[in-house]
């Protein structure tokens, strides 16, 4: 039931993005808006069709709404907590990169992730070192990548 409601919200979100795009593009010259106006109308109709289907699925206890797409491998259900956990890691890495910079954040992330989930010290240290080596070897030494300056200046 909750899943079916979530689906409706997601479809509505996509539909509203399309509508907003159409609204913004309507004042542009034809050259700039031709493709948006041509496909935008179709998109709005398709959104309405999809919303109707989602609503019907909701009324029938969401049976049809949870069908996995063909392109996706059938995977074991992991529950929402599993996804939240990895999302926390990803956002943590995102903020860590901004705070302490790429060269420190990435090996640290690799090390911590392996250790938190029960990996051996050896695996954690080796993979963190490999990440650090890859970062410095390829990006610093060969490509001279301009890493963004971290917010905490001590790590520069």
């Amino acid at each position: 039931m909750i899943r079916a409601v979530e689906e409706i919200f997601f479809t509505a979100f996509i539909g509203s993005v399309m509508l907003a795009a159409l609204f913004i593009a309507k004042d542009w010259p034809v050259r700039a808006s031709i493709i948006i106006l041509s496909l935008g109308g179709i998109a709005v109709i398709l959104t309405i069709v999809q919303l109707t289907a989602d609503y019907k699925a909701l009324r029938h206890q969401g049976a049809a709404a949870v069908r996995p797409a063909f392109e996706v491998q059938p995977l074991e259900h992991t529950g929402r907590w599993g996804s939240l956990e990895i999302w926390a890691w990803l956002w943590g890495l995102f903020f860590a990169i901004h705070l302490i910079g790429f060269p420190v954040a990435l090996p640290l992330f690799v090390f911590l992730y392996i250790k938190v989930y029960g990996g051996s010290w050896w695996t954690a240290v080796v993979l963190a070192a490999l990440t650090w080596g890859f970062l410095h070897g390829i990006y610093d030494y060969l490509l001279h990548v301009p890493w963004p300056k971290p917010l905490i200046s001590w790590f520069q």
């Binding site: 031709i34 999809q50 992730y113 695996t123």
Partner: protein, 498 residues
């Protein structure tokens, strides 16, 4: 044509290109046998690195080599631990894993490798044979026909790449819309940039591909947390598997043809090809009582088909610039970035590059099969790596790859936004391939539509070729929708009589 074929061969066997091809084969194989990391995710991760390369031959050697062999090594996990290494090896599980349980893992593996090799070479041969037919056809097309073709490509992928056609079509349109973001050089209009200079150059496809494909796969892998089963016995009968392939050559040929056809049709990816082939084998073979219990023919059908598909996939990609699936869409992006122009040029001025693709497909399959055969036992052990050793390096690669798109911290923000979009799309059963394809084809679609409109007004809609293609487009859209509806009606239980 012979000269171009020779030039293509010389191009890919020169030491540097050959080295890159071997690297591509290694990466493709590695990705293939690590469950949860799909070929498209890896191609997306590779894009930022590849786009800095200057030589198109090296890009072809690396990416096509990588793309060609992903399904070969994926048989390892399908057979040994009943987890498909890639979406193209799902049907292999049905007979491959029971064979492993029966102590015939070695036989199943060797049969799958040889079937993959022969299927892959067959796909390359069909691609080669199709060139003389495609050349006049492609050269007779102009902007209206190409516009309808691009529209057809996105629509087909939208409809067929998932079992949610409306969602697929919408995803394709979202992709086209994303491709319009930025400063439009022709009209000078700032499209969906909201006065943020970062958006002026447009949104990099690398960011979208990484966010849409790589991160959701990582989330899945991390969520499953070491659910990979215990290893089965490696068993005996390695040579028997090779013999099996030649004994069932007719089945292998038929399923390879299915693979090429599925690859040629935009939208039907590996995940469909192997099931079609398996279903065909079950329907047409004699003594079918062993299918599903460890019949080597099930493995041969599935594996021969999924590698043959790659050759078919490159036919519309190279000839029309319309990729048949996600992987070829990403390869196409890299091609364009390094100056390869898919479309008529690939059949005229850049014919040697087309042949380089064909040769790479064939040679990469041979290398991958040899690698898999020789290192089957040690590779089988690596299959059982825990998730915590796989997830963090991939995440690190993804973040580095995203930053390398523009060397801007906003790239990371964009990555997180598209990752969220990809996650929700996957969660709610929205096919993601059409979005990427829409983004890849968006520019072309817009250009062809504009050219058609300025050259012919609305008269382009009445051109015979356009009308034929529009009819094809409508049939392509309506047929799957109507058959799905009919199937649903059939499946509905009859009301009980009073």
């Amino acid at each position: 044509m012979l000269e171009a074929a020779l030039a293509g061969l010389i191009g890919v066997v020169q030491p540097e290109a050959f080295m890159f091809m071997c690297l591509g084969v290694l990466i493709g194989s590695l990705v293939g046998f690590l469950p949860g990391i799909g070929g498209p995710s890896t191609l997306a991760i590779m894009l930022p690195f590849v786009m800095t390369m200057q030589d198109p031959l090296l890009v072809i050697a690396l990416l096509v080599g990588m793309d060609a062999v992903g399904n070969t090594a994926s048989a390892f996990t399908s057979i040994l631990i009943s987890v498909p290494g890639s979406s193209g090896s799902q049907a292999t599980i049905l007979d491959g894993h029971p064979m492993a349980k029966n102590g015939e893992a070695a036989r199943a593996l060797s049969a799958s490798f040889v079937a993959s090799l022969l299927g892959g070479i067959f796909g390359a041969l069909v691609l080669f044979a199709s060139l003389p037919i495609l050349r006049p056809l492609v050269l007779s097309f102009s902007s209206p026909e190409f516009f309808i073709l691009t529209l057809w490509g996105v629509s087909m992928v939208g409809i067929l790449s998932g079992n949610a056609p409306v969602k697929g079509l919408l995803a394709g349109i979202v992709g086209v819309f994303i491709s319009t973001v930025g400063l439009d050089a022709k009209s000078g209009v700032e499209r969906f940039a909201f006065n943020v200079s970062y958006f002026w150059e447009g949104i990099d496809l690398v960011l979208v591909a990484l966010g849409i494909f790589a991160i959701p796969e990582v989330i899945d892998l991390a969520g499953r947390k070491g659910t990979i089963a215990k290893a089965e016995e490696f068993g005996h009968g390695f040579l028997q598997g090779v013999i099996d392939c030649f004994r069932h050559w007719w089945l292998l040929l038929r399923t390879s043809i299915i693979g090429v056809w599925v690859g040629f049709l935009p939208g039907l990816g590996s995940s469909v090809a192997d099931w079609f082939a398996y279903a065909h084998a079950v329907q047409t073979e004699k003594n079918r009582q062993n299918f599903g219990k460890g019949d080597v023919r099930g493995v041969i059908a599935s594996e021969g088909c999924n590698n043959a598909k790659e050759g078919g996939d490159y036919i519309p990609t190279l000839a029309f610039g319309i990729p048949g699936g996600t992987s070829s869409a990403l390869v196409l992006t890299a091609f364009i970035a390094v100056g390869i122009k898919p479309g008529p040029d690939m059949l005229t001025s850049q014919l040697n590059l087309t042949f380089a693709v064909i040769w790479t497909l064939a040679i990469a399959n041979i290398i991958a099969t040899a690698l898999c055969m020789v290192f089957a036992r040690p590779i089988a052990k690596i299959c059982f790596m825990p998730f915590y050793a796989i997830v963090p390096p991939i995440v690190a690669f993804v973040f580095i790859g995203a930053f390398a798109a523009n060397f801007h911290t906003y790239d990371l923000t964009a990555l997180m936004i598209f990752s969220s979009l990809g996650f929700f799309m996957r969660r709610y059963g929205w096919p993601r391939a059409p979005l990427v394809l829409g983004m890849v084809l968006g520019d072309k679609m817009e250009l062809y539509l504009w050219l058609s409109y300025t050259r012919y007004g609305f008269d382009w809609l009445t051109r015979p070729a356009v009308l034929a293609l529009v009819a094809l487009l409508i049939v392509s859209i309506l047929y799957p929708l109507l058959t799905a509806r009919a199937r649903k009606k059939e499946a509905r239980p009859l009301p009980l009589e009073a």
